[in-house]
């Protein structure tokens, strides 16, 4: 293991354990108004009137008419209204915001506002939606020919459900109007520059008049990528109208019922098999975007590109659509469109293997991509693909073959066991040429006369360890102790835009900019002087430019890899499922801090287990989310954590700092495939959806599975 991989105390550890870290809800409320959101209770309706009761002194209600700029939150498109104006499009769609000095009084006013609606028929089933937000497709090889020549053709429908981020700290933002029409925004934010960009449009003011600062943030997982732009715009409009600072902090139910989630999907996979191998796939994906486009474009791109998983499919066609429904807009979530397709392709491959009478592991391994192979979009796997070694390591660690064989012939009893494996990758950074053409990351180092060096990026710390790993990279390159490095919460008035803290890009892309900046500052080092160095992103020359129209080229410069093994026991009397063994091997290149990486891997793995069978969120017929609390929306607790054995395999990425590549999203992406395959073996039944609940399991067992 490289020297840098040794673990240090996290740089934000002290203030957090001592309770000194200040979250947005920790600021004293003197002079700040409490803001609460008035929301639609209809899934789709025309707003006829908003009847506001007489307001006491010092209270204000802001709605669409108060938006000084455009009534649209700029994310990728700007169709998400700051406040719904003519129609509401989902239960929870914000219509107005009430603000005032007393929280209970604000709540009273909120209750007394009457909205008159004319109901319209909502579309809640994505398959019935006629409104396509985005549509992508590509083809490689000769798909039709391969299907025509196939020995056998397979077809399967695979579905995935919602997933809630469940960050510990709910969404919250404070906006402070300043003199001269300027505003200061601070809060629980993943991407400060995204919030600034959104406020430019909504407030109609210049970027320089908007200062966005991240407060200490209690978890994000993608949930605070696009959403703070929406709250930020709403709070800013209200604060400007009130002429006073306004703070909004969601309670848990409001957060769960109205903020973004993982896109549910409905996928149709077809495969042609010739001589025992898959020669072609024809894939049709449907993503439920919810009411507005938010970030669905890029989620769909990643899903469509990754739809063949880690397998070399010479002939393939993929087609993806993201459609509107009258439900909460779905957004960014760890894995970003990929967990859905990795579940689908892993189950599909396992089911084909079963039909062919081959063990799924052997079948999948025979299709693994390798270095030099073409990607789904005719790009190239430029770097080593360590899947075979990772697989070998896990087969040994889990004793897979012996268990798989034993469970295949286990006597039918109350408790049945199964074991399964799955494989995944995650492409680091923005899709295609996004890093070069959209983000254009800039990172800087400021050296002070006393020799301390401050990291200046827009990278945010959300618990994932970024401040520590950034500091380690710079300290290592400067060959100085880590306490000589300063990292502060980003403030758009002080830091350049190094891009959003998303897409497993921060270490791989921004970390490398910092390493280069550190090398430069070291070379030019002058004792006792202030010095500043800036580095800008450059796309590697060998990267094949990605064409967004044809979906051809390198979608990602490099990939991180994952292999997972899950062993479960099912109580066939009740359908209860218990994980009795969990193993994974991940390649994230050089771990910048082993403890941080293992923490990410274990957390992501567990989030994947929750996604596979436990976490269930549905709408009722009126489009309302009922699972809006931690007792109804069950995520794994500490008591549900199995013994997880995490292994690392290091395939260094030459363009990453000290060989590091993306790590944040990878561990969740492939887990459900292993989990469900284990469940399938335990009760001898194929499943094509997640979450697979205990009720699903029991239903099958009673209706034919039992011998």
């Amino acid at each position: 293991m490289a020297e840098i991989s040794g673990s240090v105390v996290k740089v934000d550890h002290g203030p957090k354990v001592r309770g000194e870290a200040r979250f947005v809800a920790d600021y004293p409320m003197e002079g700040i108004l409490y803001g609460k959101t008035l929301r639609s209770d209809r899934a789709r309706a025309k707003i006829q009137a908003i009847n506001v009761p007489e307001l006491p002194m010092g209270y204000v209600v802001a709605d669409a008419r108060d938006v000084p700029g455009k009534n649209g939150v700029l994310i990728i498109g700007d169709d998400t209204p700051v406040f719904a104006a003519e129609t509401v499009e989902f239960v929870g769609d914000p219509i107005a915001m009430v603000a005032g000095p007393d929280e209970a009084e604000v709540e009273r006013i909120l209750r007394e506002i009457e909205v008159e609606y004319e109901d319209l028929e909502p579309v809640l089933d994505m398959r019935k939606s006629e409104k396509v937000f985005y549509e992508y497709g590509y083809e490689k090889g000769e798909v039709d020919k391969a299907f025509a020549e196939a020995d056998k053709v397979y077809e399967e429908i695979l579905q995935t459900g919602h997933q809630e981020h469940g960050y510990l700290e709910t969404q919250g933002i404070t906006v402070v109007p300043l003199a001269g029409g300027k505003v200061k925004v601070h809060g629980s934010i993943q991407c400060p520059y995204y919030v600034r960009k959104a406020l430019v449009l909504a407030l109609g003011i210049e970027p320089g008049d908007i200062q966005v600062i991240q407060d200490v943030t209690g978890g994000g997982f993608g949930g605070k990528e696009d959403y703070p732009s929406m709250i930020g715009a709403r709070v800013a409009v209200t604060a400007l109208k009130a002429g006073k600072p306004v703070r909004v902090v969601y309670d848990r139910r409001e957060d769960m019922a109205t903020t973004s989630k993982r896109h549910p999907t409905y996928s149709v996979y077809k495969a042609a098999v010739k001589d025992g191998k898959v020669t072609a796939m024809d894939i049709d994906l449907l993503y439920n975007a919810g009411a507005y486009t938010t970030i669905s474009m890029v989620v769909l791109q990643r899903g469509t590109i990754c739809s063949n998983g880690v397998y070399n499919i010479p002939h393939m066609r993929a087609h993806g659509r993201s459609v509107k429904t009258n439900s909460v807009p779905n957004g960014a979530f760890r894995g970003f469109g990929a967990p859905q397709v990795f579940f689908a392709v892993e189950m599909f491959m396992a089911h084909i293997a079963k039909d062919l009478g081959v063990d799924p592991v052997a079948f999948k391994e025979a299709h693994f991509v390798k270095k030099g192979d073409k990607t789904s979009t005719n790009g190239i796997f430029h770097h080593g693909v360590p899947l075979p070694q990772m697989n070998e390591k896990l087969l040994t660690a889990s004793d897979y073959w012996a268990k798989r064989e034993a469970y295949a012939s286990q006597p039918k009893g109350r408790y049945q066991r199964g074991i399964g494996m799955s494989y995944s990758f995650h492409g680091g950074g923005f899709t295609g040429t996004g890093e070069r053409d959209i983000i254009k990351a800039v990172a800087a180092l400021q050296k002070y006369p006393d020799g301390k060096v401050e990291i200046l990026t827009s990278g945010t710390e959300m618990g994932q360890g970024l401040f520590t790993t950034f500091a380690k990279i710079v300290a290592k390159e400067l060959d100085c102790p880590i306490d000589q490095i300063i990292v502060k919460l980003p403030d758009t008035d002080r830091v350049p835009d190094s891009g959003p803290t998303v897409a497993s890009r921060s270490i791989m892309v921004v970390g490398e900019l910092l390493r280069r900046a550190a090398a430069k500052i070291k070379a030019e080092w002058k004792d006792g002087e202030a010095q500043r160095v800036e580095e800008r992103f450059q796309q590697p020359e060998w990267q094949i430019p990605f064409n967004y129209d044809t979906f051809q080229g390198d979608a990602y410069p490099t990939f991180s890899w994952g292999a997972h093994c899950v062993e479960i026991e099912v109580d066939t009397y009740t359908g209860e499922q218990k994980v009795i063994g969990a193993w994974a091997c991940y390649d994230v290149g050089t771990p910048i801090d082993t403890t941080v990486v293992i923490g990410q891997m274990e957390g992501g793995f567990l989030q994947g287990i929750g996604y596979a069978h436990m976490e269930q969120m549905n709408y009722d017929k009126k489009g309302r989310i009922r699972s809006n609390s931690y007792s109804d929306y069950t995520m794994p607790t500490a008591a549900d954590v199995p013994k997880m054995e995490m292994h690392l395999c290091v395939e260094e990425y030459p363009e990453g700092p000290f060989g590091a590549k993306g790590a944040g999203e990878l561990p969740l992406v492939g887990v459900p495939g292993a989990y469900v395959n284990a469940l399938e073996q335990a009760i001898d039944k194929d499943f094509c959806h997640i979450p697979v609940t205990m009720e699903d399991t029991l239903t099958h067992w009673r209706e034919g599975g039992q011998a």
Binding site: R414, T634, A638, A639, D640, M694, E695, L698, T699
Partner: protein, 273 residues
């Protein structure tokens, strides 16, 4: 601002209850998460008389103000009750939540209540003028509907001194901890001279109140263990008639299937014991 009284004695508490509409507050683990803290509370945590566990000639008497942890750790507590409590929420909540509160909440999902039903517990209720003893099955009239007057408090839970020694307990939650029961089962029995001499079962979280089916349990009583197979079918058929769960977060069909599976397993366990 929270309004309330924190009396030191039961007498004082009952006087307050007579004069004013107050919500009894045991550990507050249900009340604290309620958003509308507008009522007036009667905080019971200082009343030592409600926190005793003792036995007399007829009963094991559990003070309604005992926390789950106190009951769980007490030497006199029946093992089935200890096991049920071990699956309630998480330690922090068990350290605060009380068994009286679990009953007073009126839910058919309350895990200690299931065991109290299976044990045919009685409740000692008091008002300022006196007391009455009510069997727990009569106390629950429906979901959140209790045979408890506005001026009454649940003071003690009375468990029979002699209870069946063998038991099965099973809770199905959506996860291993901090999970509200989706279905729960308690079954107790005794064997003497090779025969089943007592049998009592109860199901939680399948209907508005905990379900007891004593007339079905009776089928097994008197049956020699060696002959359980011969009555099992009749027993399960009768249970199938008697148990009719309602739909909820999970389907009635699931609930019924699992109830019968667990009863089937219950009989199998009896055979092996």
């Amino acid at each position: 601002m929270v309004n309330g009284y924190a009396p030191q004695t039961l007498r004082e508490a009952l006087e307050i209850k007579r004069k004013e509409q107050v919500s009894p507050y045991g550990g507050g683990t249900d009340l604290m998460v309620d958003h509308h803290r507008t009522g007036t509370y009667l905080f019971l945590h200082r009343i030592a008389e409600m926190q005793e566990i003792k036995q007399d000639d007829n009963y094991l008497r559990l003070g309604a103000g005992c926390t789950f942890t106190e009951v769980q750790e007490h030497a006199l507590t029946p093992p089935i009750l200890k096991e049920a409590i071990s699956r309630i929420a998480a330690p922090a909540i068990r350290n605060l939540g009380t068994i009286g509160g679990n009953i007073g909440n009126g839910s058919a999902k309350a895990d200690s209540v299931l065991v109290f039903f299976a044990l045919d517990a009685k409740l000692r209720l008091m008002d300022a003028d006196g007391e009455r003893i009510v069997p727990i099955h009569a106390f629950y009239k429906g979901r959140k509907a209790l045979d408890l007057a506005l001026d009454e408090l649940i003071v003690e839970i009375l468990l029979p001194r002699v209870i069946p020694t063998r038991y099965v307990y099973h809770k199905i939650g959506a996860r291993a901890a901090l999970a509200i029961s989706r279905l729960s089962f308690a079954g107790l029995w005794n064997v003497e001279g090779g025969k089943i001499t007592a049998c009592s079962t109860a199901f939680g979280a399948i209907d508005q109140v905990v379900v007891r089916i004593p007339e079905v349990d009776k089928i097994l009583i008197g049956t020699p263990v060696a002959e359980l197979d011969s009555v099992k079918e009749r027993y399960l058929a009768a249970a199938g008639e008697a148990i009719n769960p309602i739909d909820g977060r999970i389907s009635a069909h699931y609930r019924k299937t699992v109830c019968l599976n667990l009863l089937d397993d219950f009989v199998e366990t009896m055979k092996k014991a």
